[in-house]
Symmetry: C2
Subunit: 233 residues, 2 copies
DNA sequence: TCAAAAGTGTTCACCTTACACCCATGC
DNA sequence: GCATGGGTGTAAGGTGAACACTTTTGA
């Protein structure tokens, strides 16, 4: 029986991460220049180490690039076409991550030649990384319609108009602000603070933060009014 | 740069499939006895071959066990905890499949010592295969509430009461038959045939089949009245 | 004739959607 | 005082959920 193991081919196992951020205007993806052709933008990636789980490895790689820990990280899909990496056969497990863009340590950009790109205006990407990003966006849309994960992309304190802009960026559409705020507030996931955001508008907007008790517990469909995203995978 | 590849550890890459079937009464999973401890039931699995994609490999393995091709097959999740397989470090990409149980060639059971088990009454499983089944059931519930994939588990021609029993088995609950049939028929995904199913009930029930044009195109939420499944992954 | 499953409509409550005006403030 | 974005309510249509009786037919 041990023979069955020894006769098998081993493969290199990589991890690649689609890192989403929101800068108040648009949905962004963090890309780096690395690897064989440092001319080509690619997702941040790395190799699985012998004593790591897949998720540990994805976290480590994310930390190396962003300096962040404890961020939203979800396995997206395993990509394993025989020729996806022309150098060596490599299976890559893609993860996607949602980070608070303000927490990101931009100093790390220099080390890794990293840059934020609008999700709707990406450069050509290495290997099948373009497919990975496409799938990640679909999954984000699918998921954000059902679960309150959008908050992961905003600072701790945010306004309803900010939240609306985020959802509009994710779905590349516009929502009615009256319906939007009613719907969001009806979930009672948010706590209204006594503070207002100043500087962006003359009047200022109330800040809210996530009511973390309820945040963890919610498993029901969250926003039903999202335009049916292309559902797949 | 090539060094970066050569310094890396390779890993064994396995595929394991959760194969769902429906026998008219309950939701079933196909398990086999294999491997080191032939005492333990496990999912059907195999190794990735050098010239195959992950999906090709999962299809091949499914064909070996069931004799079926062109069945619903979807990647579930990559499992890679360092100690999940005590013999050698192995990363397993799990797939789940929905098959028409009548098409399954039971003669193959002998070769592989295969047996159908009720999803709600499983024996202890090898390695982390229990986690794989749990996740597959969640995904099936999640997915079947949004997409018309349930039909994959039924014969070409089926009755509304059969379809209802299937959904009741998937969600382990009961539905009101008036609301159920209204909802299903309102999708206009089904074509009513002039035939009736005989033998099961005295009166007999009309047979339907999937209207395949619309089946492929539907991307909207499909059944909204499914009790909110535990949404995750 | 009776048992067992098939088939069929209506009402009510709630949710989604569409839509317009006043408010607060910095300049 | 005016321009900019923030904040709020209502009415109409549609959807989901609850609920009971009649039909068919083989035994």
């Amino acid at each position: 029986m041990l023979d069955q193991y020894q006769q098998q081919h081993p493969y290199l196992l990589a991890l690649d991460s689609i890192i989403f951020g929101f800068d108040g205007e648009g949905l962004k993806v963090l890309l780096v220049k690395r690897g064989i052709e440092a001319e080509t933008w690619s997702l941040m990636g790395g190799w699985l180490q012998p004593n790591e789980s897949l998720e540990d490895a994805a976290s480590r790689i994310l930390f190396d690039l962003t300096g962040l820990t404890n961020v939203y990280l979800e396995q997206l899909y395993a990509f394993g076409n025989p020729n996806r990496d022309p150098i060596t056969r490599t299976v890559s497990v893609a993860y996607f991550s949602l980070i608070k863009i303000d927490d990101y340590e931009a100093t790390l950009s220099d080390t890794f030649q990293a840059r934020w790109f609008s999700i709707y205006d990406l450069p050509p990407l290495l290997f099948d990384h373009g497919d990975m990003v496409d799938l990640a966006l679909k999954r984000l849309r699918y998921k954000a319609a059902q679960h309150p994960i959008g908050f992961e992309l905003l600072p701790e304190k945010f306004t309803i108009p900010q939240l609306q802009k985020l959802y509009e960026a994710i779905y590349n559409t516009e929502f009615d602000k009256r319906n939007f705020s009613r719907k969001i507030l009806s979930t009672s996931l948010l706590t209204k603070l006594d503070e207002k955001q100043k500087g962006y508008s003359r009047r200022g907007a109330y800040l809210y933060q996530v009511n973390s008790n309820k945040y963890q517990l919610t498993h029901n469909a969250f926003l039903n009014f999202i335009p049916s995203p292309e559902l797949s995978v």
